[in-house]
Amino acid sequence: MKASKSLMLEMLKKMLEVRYFEEKVVDQYARGAVPGLAHLYIGEEAVAVGACMNLTDEDYITSTHRGHGHCIAKGGELKPMMAELFGKKTGYCKGKGGSMHIAAFEKGILGAMGIVGSGGPIATGAALGIKRQKLDRVVICFFGDGASNEGATHEAMNFASLHKLPVIFVCENNLYGISVAQHRHQAIKDIAARAAGYNMPGLIVDGMDVLAVYEAVKEAVKRAKSGKGPTLIECKTYRFRGHHEGDPNLGARYRMKEEIAAWRKRCPIECLKDKLIKDKIAKQRELDEMEEDVKRRVEEAFVYAMESPFPNPEEALEDLFA
């Protein structure tokens, strides 16, 4: 079944939210206004949005250091997210987590983990909890090509497949583990091939095509919910910015500017817009209005973050134990 108009518009809106949220961070980071590190999701929007469009608030995700996109796609609200980046009391984690550690339990966001590869075992555990409690839910574990070389990822995949757990491993292969190109950090081209080692399906998807990601994850969700176990979906994608803001020349020390430019032409947002117009699904004005609305809401989130108070210093001592 093809995605409906309303679904495609929803996807576009979410991708725009991610894009403009991140653009705001770019701007603020350049001004030196963001306290910590910022690993941006610009260019990879189709992966998180296409995947999460298959989920409800009841389903779970685990996220990564490059997690803003996952959180927004999963329903995270812009205001507490932005506030968290600025270390404010109104942030999702009361200013304790920051950019790399956002969780929103009520939205099924179990948390972004700053350690590469650490989400796999936790996502697998959540899936085990779902299975034992006979809940009709799934978990998506987002991870990158870098994390695909971490032992914990392999332990998790083996465990999940062994017990046929409802978890989907969505690998965002953006071709670089920090600065090291994929061909310099692993001997394989397709990470999906590793699924065979765990007797689970391994798919390769165009990570710049939100509809393709959506359809692939949809099948995986169906499979997971019917008790058939996990799927590994490798999304070939690209980050338009550097590893983190401040990465020299957007990563031009370790990759060619031509390469960046070529991938930018495949912008997942522009691709979807083109399709919507070309197939006469939506009118340009409709899309423009949507974009303006997103920009306005991102700006509101920024103002909210700016106007929010910092936590009291002594709050550093709270929240350790339940």
Partner: protein, 326 residues
């Protein structure tokens, strides 16, 4: 009262926990059909089935992660890492994730996870199967650490651990599994953060963890016959630590020996000595001594291993030494 071995007390507590709460399940290496390396889960798979007593792959990170994830979504997992020596294999899941998640996410989630493991030298386990590194984990905020010293306490502390809403590292001294002691029938808890005074005395305070409690107690009884009062305190949990009981005893005796099988540098005893220095300096009458393993890995040869493990003679010598200070 009836007596059980330490092992039987563990099995009984786990059995009762599985019986009492359907959310409880066990996961670990060889805990199922094999019954656990030390038979501390013996018979439980047969009684509760493979879904509640899960043999796991040899994948320590997956074991801890499965515990964290399932705890967050509503289960009460009790996972087992066979030897505390294996903990570095899954250190990230333990200290970066389990311990930190609640705090770094702003106090929003509960992680009611019990991580059982064994420690201790004396069976020829050598460098990779015999360490007593429990003290290391005190350094990581967000973990509670139980170090039961008797069959009575292991059962009661295990229930407290299972009911706690936080990750608990539950360290069992593998040389204690055959030790017998009084264990009440039925359900009871031993609170965290409440030390036990094993022997009262006015002259020296000896803080001793795990099986070192028995050794300290033997020395205390022997000294008692000589008219020397040794107060033996078992902290029972390292986090939270019952500073009050420790400090109060020290205020009475002014002399302290800490006995712990961990390596010497950064030992649990180092922290206790620091607490005394910070909070009871006016009462210090003698050097605070640590009786620990020397600062080397656990050696294999029986001769070397025996030398490595703190024994009664070393405790005795330390007590005599602090007594030299009037």
């Amino acid at each position: 009262m009836r007596e059980l071995t330490f092992r039987e007390a563990v099995v009984e507590a786990l059995d009762m926990a599985l019986e009492r709460d359907p959310r409880v399940f066990l996961l670990g290496e060889d805990i199922g059909y094999y019954g656990g390396l030390f038979q501390a889960t013996q018979g439980l798979l047969q009684k509760y089935g493979e879904d509640r007593v899960m043999d796991s792959p040899i994948s320590e990170s997956a074991i801890i992660g499965a515990g964290i994830g399932s705890a967050i979504v509503g289960m009460r997992p009790i996972v087992e890492i066979m030897n505390i020596d294996f903990m570095p294999v899954c250190m990230d899941q333990l200290v970066n994730q389990a311990a930190k998640m609640r705090y770094m996410f702003g106090g929003k989630m509960k992680i009611p996870l019990v991580i059982r493991c064994t420690c201790g030298a004396g069976r020829g386990g050598a460098a990779h199967h015999a360490q007593a590194t429990h003290g290391v984990f005190m350094h990581f905020p967000g973990l509670k650490i139980a170090v039961p010293g008797t069959p009575h306490d292991v059962k009661g502390l295990l229930f407290t651990a299972i009911e706690d809403e936080n990750p608990v590292l539950f360290v069992e001294d593998k040389m204690m599994y055959n030790v017998k002691g009084e264990v009440p029938e039925g359900y009871y808890t031993v609170p965290f953060g409440k030390a036990a005074i094993r022997h009262e005395g006015e002259d020296v305070t000896v803080i001793a963890t795990l099986r070192m409690g028995y050794r300290a107690l033997a020395v205390a009884k022997e000294m008692e016959e000589k008219g020397i009062g040794v107060e033996v305190i078992d902290p029972r949990t390292l986090c939270p630590l019952d500073k009050e009981t420790i400090i109060n005893s020290f205020k009475k005796t002014g002399k302290m020996v800490i006995v712990d099988e961990g390596n010497r540098v950064g030992n649990f005893g180092s922290e206790v000595a620091s607490i005394i220095a910070e909070e009871a300096v006016d009462y210090i009458q003698a050097p605070i001594l640590k009786v620990t393993a020397p600062h080397v890995p656990v050696p294999y040869s029986p001769v070397l291993e025996k030398f490595y493990i703190p024994d009664e003679e070393r405790i005795r010598q330390a007590v005599y030494r602090v007594l030299e200070y009037a």
